[in-house]
Amino acid sequence: MIYSEISSNKQKTALLITCFLVLIIALGWVFSMQLEAPGLLPVAVIVSVLMSLTSYYYSDKIVLSMSHAKEIKKTDDPDLYRTVENLSIAAGLPTPKVYLIDDTAPNAFATGRDPKHAVVAITTGLRQKLTKPELEGVMAHELSHIGNYDIRLTTIIVVLVGIVALLSDWMLRISFRGRRRGKEGAIIMLIGLIFALLSPLAATVIQLAISRKREFLADASGALLTRYPQGLSAALQKIAADHEPLEVANKATAHMYIVNPLKEHIEQKDKIGWFANLFQTHPPIDERIKRLEGMNL
């Protein structure tokens, strides 16, 4: 079951990169045709390939620096480090690097392109709040994301979908505020419209890739690893009780965290409506806790 999950994640990652390549190259083609500048097409090809390679090899570093996470050594926090080491041994994974985010909001995530290049990050707020069994539960959840190759897909999504969202935002602004006349204005208008359509699509891609299934699966296999589902469910309860939003998280990275770090969506759900629902990347915590407590090991 886990092995099919791994190959499905690898396929989804390849599909995502292909879609991105096609999109950027198609854009380059539209520009080069309309502006009668054939040189633009090879540029678009090179740029899109470079962006894809960068996102494959460096997206974990981009994500970590976006979150202001800093690597810690074993001597900095032996308890945390040993917990990660022991769980990795039990899961049969190489020990990931451990990063700390200096923020009082409780949260954690995992990133990297494969288990050999993996990182688990935890906020200082969560580190201080949790007891040992709870910390083990959280870390086992993150290690399950690593073992299932969830990290490769979710991390690349941050960068690729982030670029598309950024471009669409930018194009929309130019097309509506610029009000240019003639051929040029029409092209930009057209591209702006294409991106306007793509923006909700990007959100859907995030949601599809994340899906409730992924979090539930990580909860379940994490609980199998520690043989103590109560640890993770107690940790989730503590995180849910805290309403402080995580400052370093944004819509592009929210799906990576163990619990949605953009807490305002809980209280203002009715006001934002369907658009906020597009970004509902996590299943409700109550349901996750209920499933963990119903587990029979």
Binding site: R82, N86, A91
Partner: protein, 182 residues
């Protein structure tokens, strides 16, 4: 004639798939075993330091020290996983008796070196437990493959045999009820 060839072809392909599947599973078990050995070796390395530290304070407990040293030597030289299993359980027990001796020496319990060795040893024991769990999970998967149809018909013939779990000794101190005397 053609049908017969197709049937033979399918059977051969199926056999190859079953064989490769078993080899993968067995390799995973062997790999998991080497993970355990890494941690066991770490424990062997810690023990001489621990013994010499305790010796500095508790000079008259020679029998305990010999037991630990002997058990360590026996565990290190155990040839097969099942012999290793028995020897490791023996070693764990002697280490426990060594810590019981240390309880009687307050100066020793305050020694920084002793405390760090003790925490290293506890950590190593935790890691052995973790590695053991991973190993047992792989043994379970491998044995299940061996025992289920249709693999069970060829497995013996191809030279695959069931592996033993790395269990903690149920008859050891932790498996027995505690005797409290007043």
């Amino acid at each position: 004639m053609i049908y017969a060839l197709i049937i033979i072809g399918v059977l051969v392909l199926g056999g190859v798939a079953i064989y490769n599947n078993l080899v993968h599973a067995r390799n995973r078990v062997d790999e998991a075993w080497s993970d355990i050995e890494v941690q066991l070796k770490r424990r062997y390395d810690l023990i001489p330091n621990l013994v010499s530290t305790v010796k500095g304070y508790a000079k008259h407990e020679d029998s305990v020290f010999t037991k630990v040293t002997d058990a360590r030597a026996a565990a290190m030289s155990a040839p097969t996983p099942s012999a290793k299993l028995a020897a490791e359980n023996q070693l764990s027990q002697t280490i426990r008796s060594l810590f019981a001796v240390a309880e009687n020496y307050p100066d020793l319990k305050a020694n920084q070196n002793f405390l760090s060795l003790q925490s290293d040893l506890t950590d190593t024991e935790d890691k052995i437990q973790a590695a053991r769990r991973f190993y047992n999970g792989n043994v379970r998967d491998y044995n299940t493959k061996l025992q289920t149809f249709p693999t069970n018909m060829f497995a013996q013939m191809l030279g695959f045999t069931a592996k033993t779990f790395f269990d903690i000794d149920e008859k050891g101190p932790e498996g027995q009820p505690v005797n409290v005397q007043f």
